[in-house]
Amino acid sequence: MTEPVLDVRNVTKTFRERGGRRLRALDGVSLTVSAGECVGVVGESGCGKSTLARVITRLILPDSGSVRFCGTEMTELRGGKLRSAYRNMKMIFQEPRSSFDPRLNIGTSIREALRPVVRGKKEQDEQIARLLLSVGLEERFADAYPGQMSGGECQRAAIARAIAQRPKLLICDEATSALDVSVQAQVVELLDQIRRETGISFLFISHDLALVSSFCDRVYVLCGGRVAEHGATLRVIREPREEYTKRLIGSVLTM
């Protein structure tokens, strides 16, 4: 069996709150994502989903546990090695506009992502146009500023930037929850299309069980910093074994 793209083992992270109280955001979380696989992480807000994303991208270090990405231990990487590991890992954020520098136009932002992989301004320009087209945006958006674009357009551009370096793993942290329903469906469709064409692995973090079930092969249910249940998406939704999962599914259905 080949090594998974992402292998998170027993990750624990405790935050110290004001007044000395300790908040255990992640409590022995383990999770794997294989090549080409799409894995969902669901749970209500405050269950540690975002902390997990930040630990995986090594924005924060876990207290204990290991994060192996493409065979290297992320928690031990520094400087240049960390930067080259980042080349294979990209993230789509919840707030589409905030993921672009407001002063730079979209083309410039995408160019920054292309710089390490494509040399020459002309080649970069061509690649920017190609990337924009591949996410369903016209070429002219290269000159647009994030403030002039709709949320959906911004999110498409963010996806274009994320796939510019041809990563192995794309982490979507509530990537569609700030968008309205019809745009949401389009963006999910776009992600699905990218997945089929490129074979990129996805870690799809969301509170929306319905969305995850339509998109992911396997799903992890996170509750209070622990993995309450995991398994094939259909199995988890049709025959939830844990009380928490049942309630989570129930809340979706009653809505």
Partner: protein
């Protein structure tokens, strides 16, 4: 970006007035009808009019000429104060905010010590130690002015570091320095520019205050003119009135300029225009 055209037009007007004033202050000394330092006791305490458009002081020096001669030192001194404070303060703030941890802690405690004293008191102390002179006055005011920039830049660096686009840039594999230069600094520069223009009038008053106390320039400078004229206020009020008016008008212009720079660059702070 940018406000409605009205605020931009206002900024253009104030900015051109400001530039005009700067150019004027450079050549003002040459426009003076009399030698600013020429003492003529026979012509002392003359009321405005005739050969002396704004009258003469207790030593018979032409007040109009002295105001013109003092313009360059008063205005340029305040510009230099702002530039020094801004550059030093921003550098300190960036290092502090970006390094974080122990360095940040130490730097911010030093800043707190500086802020524990009222600025002008600290400036007077520093100027007293350095001795009189315009250069020392500028240094003394810059020594207290940098702290506000340091705090401001640090807080922006800290909050911008958390932005998603900075996280995205990290995931692009950009180095810390390139993120700082390309993403953090350009987004922090606006509030710094706003603070800088608002600081101009404070620096102007500061330098006048120090010369009033005899701690800065002893030659023709608006603050020191006030100080000298004060003793003769009953006999020749014009010796106090006109330099004070010059300080007043230039300070107002700097303030208005600062406000309109803020209105254009940072519209969210516009409601504070009249509060300061």
């Amino acid at each position: 970006m940018g406000g409605p055209t009205g605020t931009k037009r206002k900024l253009a007007a104030y900015l051109s007035l400001f530039l005009l004033l700067c150019v004027f202050s450079l050549v003002a000394g040459k426009l003076a009808p009399h030698d600013a330092e020429f003492v003529d006791l026979a012509a002392a305490k003359q009321a405005p009019g005739g050969a002396y458009p704004l009258g003469t002081d207790g030593l018979g020096r032409c007040i109009w000429s002295r105001i013109l001669a003092g313009a360059s030192s008063s205005i340029f001194a305040s510009l230099v104060i702002v530039v020094i404070s801004l550059v030093v303060g921003c550098a300190v703030g960036i290092v502090s905010g970006y390094a974080g941890g122990v360095i940040d802690e130490i730097v911010m405690r030093v800043v707190d010590v500086f802020l524990a004293f009222p600025g002008i008191v600290l400036s007077i102390a520093v100027a007293g130690m350095l001795g009189p002179g315009l250069k020392n006055g500028v240094l003394a005011l810059a020594a207290t002015g940098w702290t506000q920039y340091a705090r401001l830049t640090r807080s922006y660096v800290l909050s911008l570091r958390q932005e998603n686009y900075v996280r995205a840039a990290r995931l692009n594999g950009q180095t810390g320095l390139s993120i700082l230069i390309r993403h953090i600094l350009p987004n922090a520069i606006r509030p710094v520019a706003v603070t800088g223009t608002l600081h101009l009038s404070g620096a102007m008053l500061g330098i006048s205050g120090l010369s009033f106390l005899g701690l800065s320039s002893s030659s023709a400078e608006w603050g020191s003119m006030l100080s000298e004229g004060r003793s003769l206020m009953q006999q020749c009020p014009w010796a106090v009135l006109y330099p004070a008016l010059a300080i007043f008008l230039v300070t107002i212009l700097f303030n208005l300029l600062g406000d309109s720079v803020r209105d254009v660059l940072d519209p969210s702070g516009a409601e504070n225009t009249l509060k300061d």
